[in-house]
């Protein structure tokens, strides 16, 4: 009995071995490019976004410099906000409060100690966004990858979302817009806010305009990345350094985190 088994083990058919070799080679040839393409993924997106990622920002207020507004300027340039101009009839004060800004530089002062902190404030990309809760038309929505944005095709300009947002992150476009960028359509009568450079996301770029600008200034105060990937730089930093959500008490689980506040 035992001998018979050994005999079977030894009698290997060479053609069968050759077939297995060819099959393995073909499989590798078919699968490998898919794996490599998946790893590179720099082409425009052709599949729907999934909840496998959640985009977010970490802002280190210790590195954010008072008087610097590079992130704001870069955001304006990226999204065509720098093409706005004050309507002639409007007072400068009103224009200041009404023009579209997606990032604001905010200065905080602790009156007891006198400590001053500056930070950029933008849409916090909440997991449970109040702006989406209140929107009557479904224009305000959260994309599967965590980006909270406005579908301007559906927005009727009621501005409920602006009132619901605890971060004053949203703007209403009061005047007709000219010279829009192809990548960022925007026009009168809609609400808008930071969308984490959604066009960059869909074209496979790695960062946002504000992150690039901050790094170019040498401050590196803003880090962008995937909050769900434990290996991403942003997740590593969040693990290491103490950080907070603004208005944690509202339990919105924001995608933008701040350290040093």
């Amino acid at each position: 009995m035992k001998d018979e088994n050994e005999a079977i083990d030894e009698a290997v058919d060479p053609s069968r071995r050759a077939f297995m070799g060819v099959a393995a080679g073909v499989t590798a040839a078919v699968v490998a490019p898919g794996v490599l393409l998946h790893a590179v993924a720099a082409a425009p997106r052709s599949e729907p976004v999934t909840a496998d990622v959640r985009w977010g920002l970490l802002i280190d207020t210790a590195k954010c410099v008072d008087g610097c507004s590079a992130c704001v300027a870069a955001c304006d340039r990226e999204n065509g906000l720098d093409m706005q101009s004050k309507p002639e009839s409007q007072s400068p004060l009103k224009w200041d409060s009404q023009k579209a800004v997606w990032i604001r530089k905010v200065k905080l002062q602790d009156n007891q100690t006198g400590r001053v902190t500056t930070l950029p404030m933008m849409c916090q990309h909440c997991e449970h966004p109040p702006c989406v809760d209140v929107c009557p038309t479904g224009a305000s929505f959260k994309r599967a990858d965590g980006i909270v944005m406005v579908d301007r095709h559906l927005c009727i300009g009621c501005r409920y979302c602006m009132m619901a947002c605890p971060y004053k992150a949203r703007n209403f476009i009061h005047e007709a817009v000219h010279g829009q960028l192809t990548a960022v359509p925007r026009g009168k009568g809609c609400v808008e806010s930071c969308n984490l450079c959604v066009h960059r996301r869909d074209f496979g770029e790695e960062s946002t305009a504000c992150v690039d600008a901050c790094a170019a200034e040498g401050h590196h105060a803003i880090v962008f990345g995937d909050l769900k990937d434990p290996a991403s730089p942003i997740s590593q930093l969040l693990k290491d350094m103490p950080s907070r959500q603004i208005r944690e008490d509202l339990s919105l689980n924001t995608g933008v985190r701040y350290s040093g506040v």
Partner: protein, 157 residues
């Protein structure tokens, strides 16, 4: 007899006229295709001409949901695609907004008296079109901003 001749000649003139108009219209359409663009190398648009003429609004309406809500940027129906292939340029190579009343979108919409809202928000000229990530990075490194500024939106009809 005279009436019959008159009638026949009128019919003939009518037929010739119809033919002439069709030819002119065809020439007009050709005028709106950018040389060297994707459309220049195609028999018809992304769909057969008859379909795209009647249903382009449906196509881009479905496409916008995929793009805005799902982030899909490779659908074949694309408003910026319309602009890329069908924009025309003046003598100084400045692109004319596509919704101007004598331009590709504007001409038909003015004729059909349909208010065209797309370009209240969307760029009516190729304006910082996204080529690919590396080209954009190169542009940014060289400090080159958006190439052209559009001048008007669709308020004139």
């Amino acid at each position: 007899m005279a009436t019959a001749v008159l009638r026949a000649s009128l019919v003939a003139v009518g037929l010739v006229w119809t033919l002439a108009v069709q030819t002119v219209q065809a020439e007009d359409v050709k005028r709106y295709v950018v040389e060297g663009s994707r459309a220049a190398g195609l028999e018809s648009c992304v769909e057969p001409t008859e379909r795209i003429r009647r249903q382009h609004m449906e196509f881009i309406k479905h496409q916008r949901i995929a793009t805005v809500h799902e982030g899909i940027r490779t659908e074949k129906y694309s408003l910026s695609g319309c602009v890329d292939c069908h924009i025309s340029y003046d003598q100084e190579r400045v692109p004319r907004p596509i919704n101007d009343p004598d331009q590709f979108c504007g001409a038909c919409h003015a004729f059909a008296a349909i208010d065209l809202n797309c370009f209240d928000c969307h760029a009516a000229v190729p304006n910082g079109a996204r080529l690919d990530a590396t080209a954009i990075a190169a542009h940014r490194a060289a400090g080159v901003g958006p190439l052209v500024q559009s001048r008007r939106d669709g308020e004139d009809h």
